[in-house]
Structures are given as C-alpha cells and as structure tokens.
C-alpha cells in the first residue's frame, strides 16, 4: 500500500521533473517567438495589404512590392547600403587584422590599448555619432580648426556634400567597429598552434611570409565570423545615419533602415515600408541562417 503510493508519488515527481524544464523555458521562448517571428509574419502580411497611413488588411497582392521597386528613393537606399557595406566590411576586416597583428607583438600595456580600441563599440553610437557630426561639420570641427590655424585653403565638407556624405558615414562606422574586429582576430591569433610557426622560423622564413602562408590561412573561421557579424550590422545600421546625417543631404545617405522608418512614420506608406522591411529580413536570413546552423550545431554533431 505504502509502496504503491510512494511509487505513484515518484511517477508524479518524475512527470513534474519532465515538465518543469519545458515550463520554465516557455516564457522566454513565447516572448521571443511572439515578439519576433509572430511580428515578422504580421509585417509580411502588411506588405501585401493596402495599408497606408493606417493598417488596412485588404489584400492587394504584390502592389506594394512593385511600388517599392519603382521607388527612386529605394534605389538610392539600395545603392548606398551596397557601397556602405562593401567599404565597411573590407576596411574593418583589413584594419582589424592589421591592428590585431600589431598588438600581438608583445606590446607594452596591451590590455589598455585593447580596451581603448574596443571603446568605440561599447559607447552609444547616438553619442559618438553626434561627436563625429560636430567634428566633420565644416562650420564647427576639423575644417574650422584648420582655417584658424592658418591653412585657409583646407576644405573638408564631405558631411554636407551629397556625393561624399556616405563616405563620412563609412569613416565613422569603420572607426566604431574596427577595434571589435581586432579583438576577434587577436583571440584567433592567440589560439594558433605555435609549432608550425617555430618550424618556419627555424627554416629562416621571413616574418611576412609566415603571416601570409601560415597564420592568416588559419584565421579563416575568424574571417567568416567577422564578415557575417559586420554584414548584419551594416544592414541594420540606423542610429549611425540618424546621428550623423539623418539620411541627408537630400537622400544622399538614405539606407534601407532609414527608408523604412520614414515611409512608415512620415510618408504614411505603411505597405511600402513593410515590403522594404521584409526585403531586409530576407537578405539577413540568407546570410545568418546557414552561418548559425554551422556555428551552433556544427561542433556538437
């Protein structure tokens, strides 16, 4: 009698033990799935609806999508993000690698330097972007300083020059992320097996050759991570543009994120805004999903 009741108790406990993990996981999972994937489906639906200033769920097929692709501003946004991403990813990766190699030479106060290189990434870009905006503003910062120091022909008006403004955004963005990429490469460099390097040194191989032939090829996984992280940061970039140029002058620095924001809130074109958001999501998904699968599942299976 007592034996069977304790057995029943045990099975109740066992059932409880089996359910408990699922139960405690549920709130987080529900929150994330609802807020993110639920809302993405909703956004997708809106992109096929007649929504303008207010949501209107009349199905209009690909009407909003063809309006998006017909939009001159969207063309500019796509061109800008392409130029921006390319320059940003290439510059950050090369500079980050170079800095990591520099810092790997048993430099004094390496810890302090590493932290200083990382700070731009840790600080809010709304703040540092505003500082950059002051610094690059012809009336306030660099140009004014040079003029007052006597170099009156000095001119640096990229921030307000429609052809060049996007490059000022690139400069500030590269400044922000380079230290972070450096930290990734430095960790990679520290993980490299020293045996092969020693062997090459004994053979009398020059330093640059050791880097080019032995060390850099071994950093391939870091290159992959850096490019994926940088690419998604580039596509997401919003605060950077808001703080520095607000998308201007004119539409010169409009990118998909600021395009989406202005079509949703100031131009009352919710359908087009949703379509542009879905397009950005698709690009990021194509980039991220394969990477995450290999990164998080690979080592265990």
């Amino acid at each position: 009698m007592s034996h069977s009741s304790s057995k029943r108790e045990m099975s109740a406990r066992a059932r409880w033990q089996a359910w408990l993990p699922k139960l405690v996981l549920a709130p987080s999972l529900a929150l994330v799935l609802f807020f993110v994937y639920g809302f993405i489906l909703w956004t997708s639906y809106i992109s096929f609806s007649a929504s303008d200033m207010l949501p209107n769920y009349t199905w209009v097929g690909t009407h909003q999508w063809s309006r998006l692709w017909g939009s001159w501003t969207w063309g500019i946004a796509l061109h800008n993000i392409w130029v921006f991403s390319l320059l940003y990813i290439v510059s950050c990766t090369l500079l980050g690698l170079l800095l990591a190699i520099l810092l790997d030479q048993r430099i004094r106060a390496e810890g302090l330097l590493r932290t200083i290189y990382l700070y731009p990434m840790a600080l809010s870009f709304i703040v540092t972007g505003t500082a950059w905006q002051w610094f690059l503003n012809p009336g306030l910062g660099l140009e004014k300083t040079m003029h007052e120091l006597g170099w009156t022909s000095f001119s640096f008006d990229w921030l307000i020059n429609a052809d060049m403004a996007i490059y000022t955004v690139v400069i500030a963005a590269v400044w922000q992320a380079t230290g972070f990429v450096m930290a990734m490469f430095l960790a990679g460099l520290r993980g490299i097996d020293g045996e092969m390097i020693k062997a090459a040194q004994i053979d009398g191989a020059p330093v640059w050759k050791i880097y080019l032939r032995i060390i850099i090829p071994q950093l391939r996984p870091v290159f992959l991570s850096a490019v994926v992280v940088l690419a998604h940061l580039a596509i997401k970039s919003f605060d950077l543009i808001v703080a520095m140029t607000g998308g201007g002058p004119g539409n010169a620095t409009t990118v998909p994120a600021t395009f989406m924001y202005s079509y949703a809130f100031s131009r009352n074109e919710m359908g087009i805004a949703a379509a542009s958001a879905v397009f950005m999501l698709a690009v990021i998904a194509a980039l991220i999903v394969p990477y995450l699968y290999s990164e998080l599942r690979g080592p265990r299976s």
Partner: protein, 274 residues
C-alpha cells in the same frame, strides 16, 4: 638584437598612435565639455585651456531635463536586465541540464533573433503599443529592451552553465538535493561571475539602445539617446553644454565597459570568440 628592439619600439609607438586616433573623437567631446561656450568657439582651438565645470552645471540645470532622461535610461536598463535574468536563468538551466532533442534547434532560433533588424517588427510593435497605450511608456520600453536582450542573455547564461562540470550536479543529486536546491545552492554560486558579466553586458546594451527609444517614446519615457539625438537640430549653439551632457551619458559606460569588454566580444559574436 638591437634591431629587433628598435622594431619593437617602433611598433609600440605605432599602436599608441592608433590608440590616440581611435580615442580622438571621444577625447574631443570630453575636452569641449570642460570649456565654456565662448572658448569652445575660440579662434585657434587650444588643447591647453583652463578646464571649467560651467558646461556641466548648465547641462545639469533644472529645465534641461537631463535628470529626467537619465532616470528613464537607468530605470529601463536596470529593470530590463533584471527581468531578463529572471526569465533567462531557468530557461538556460533547463536547456543546459535537461537537454531535449530540440534544445539545439530552440537555441538556434532564439539566437537568430539577435540578428534581426528592428525595422522588421517595427510596424506591428507600434500598432500593438498604440492600442495598448504603451507608447511613450517607460514599462513598454522596458519590455522591448527585455525582449531585445533576452536571447543574448539566455544564450550567454546557457554557455556559462555548460562550463560547469556535470559531476558536481550529479554529486548534489546523489546527496538528495532537489532540482531547485541544486540550482540555487550549487549551480548559481558557481555561475555567479558569468551571470554578473552577462547582466553587465545587457545593462550596457540597454543603456546604449536608440532605435526603440527614438521610435516608441516622445518625452515622458524618453531616454538619454532621445535627448542626445535632439541636439542635432540645435547644432552648434550650445556646443559645450551638449558635449557635457554627452560626456555624462557615456561616462557610466566607459567605466562599466572596462569590466565588460570580454563579454562584449563574446556576446556580439555568439561565442565565435571566447
């Protein structure tokens, strides 16, 4: 030997030069903050000047609202971090110590949300918040920060739990400790440094957050990000004062960032770099 020492000195100098260039925009902001409005605009901007706290006094003066925005930033950052940890610790515990066939899958999808651009969910969030009256509401904003940081917190706490040797858990189990007891008395104390640094990272990310603050708040629940972003429109007029407010905004992060640098790299690359 001397040649390699010379190379080393040159390399050291180069790294220092790079550090100065990297830190220059921040330094520029700090220097401006310690000037008066007049000297900030002086002919020949000098690096040698008498520092003054005038601009800080002006920035902190009543009526500027600095304290209002700072309070909102602090409240939303601290609350979202605490709520995030409370939700994430049991979830991560379940995944780390009671893994099922779908744990990997769940984890991948959770982490994937960190990569999703906020614009992808902006319209629905805005509509839901509007109908619930959560626009310009500090708890509404806190909830968004929580949802934004939760995947990262879950993933980081999970990875710290994974580092704890299974033997310790089994030993506690044999000693007759229940799940809750094992978690509170054995696992959490061991994972405490990891939990603390995860919390620190979440705190920094929430404090720095600007997208949701700019889109979901107006004035009542606005954070420092909104305050600083509003400076652009008044550019140049109160340069020193704005720099002082910016300095006050980044100083907590400069201090916290010193302790959280490792977690930042680890968190932002999802463990690709430990």
């Amino acid at each position: 030997m001397t040649e390699s020492r010379l190379t080393n000195t040159l390399l050291t100098l180069l790294t220092y030069a790079v550090a100065i260039v990297m830190f220059f925009p921040i330094l520029w902001m700090f220097l401006t903050a310690f000037k008066t409005e007049q000297t900030a605009f002086d002919i020949v901007p000098h690096f040698l000047f008498t520092p003054t706290l005038d601009s800080f006094k002006l920035a902190l003066a009543q009526g500027n609202g600095y304290w209002h925005y700072a309070f909102n930033s602090a409240l939303s950052a601290v609350a979202s971090t605490l709520i995030g940890l409370v939700l994430a610790v049991p979830a991560a515990y379940a995944m780390a110590f009671f893994p099922s066939k779908r744990t990997d899958f769940t984890l991948v999808w959770m982490v994937s949300t960190k990569f999703i651009p906020a614009v992808g969910v902006l319209i629905p969030v805005f509509m839901v918040y509007k109908s619930l009256g959560l626009l310009d509401n500090i708890w509404g904003l806190t909830m968004l920060f929580t949802a934004m940081n939760l995947p990262l917190i879950v993933w980081m706490v999970y990875s710290y739990f994974k580092d704890i040797p299974k033997d310790i858990i089994e030993a506690a189990d044999i000693d007759g400790a229940g799940t809750l007891q094992t978690m509170v008395k054995v696992v959490l104390p061991l994972a405490l440094p990891g939990l603390a640094s995860t919390g620190l990272l979440a705190l920094i990310l929430a404090w720095n957050e600007s997208f949701w603050s700019l889109t979901m708040t107006d004035h009542k629940a606005a954070t420092l990000a909104v305050f600083i972003a509003s400076f652009k429109s008044a550019e140049g007029l109160f340069w020193a004062k704005m720099s002082a407010a910016s300095v006050l905004t980044v100083t907590p992060i400069i201090i916290l960032g010193w302790f959280a640098q490792r977690q930042m790299v680890r968190g932002l690359t999802f463990g690709a770099v430990k």
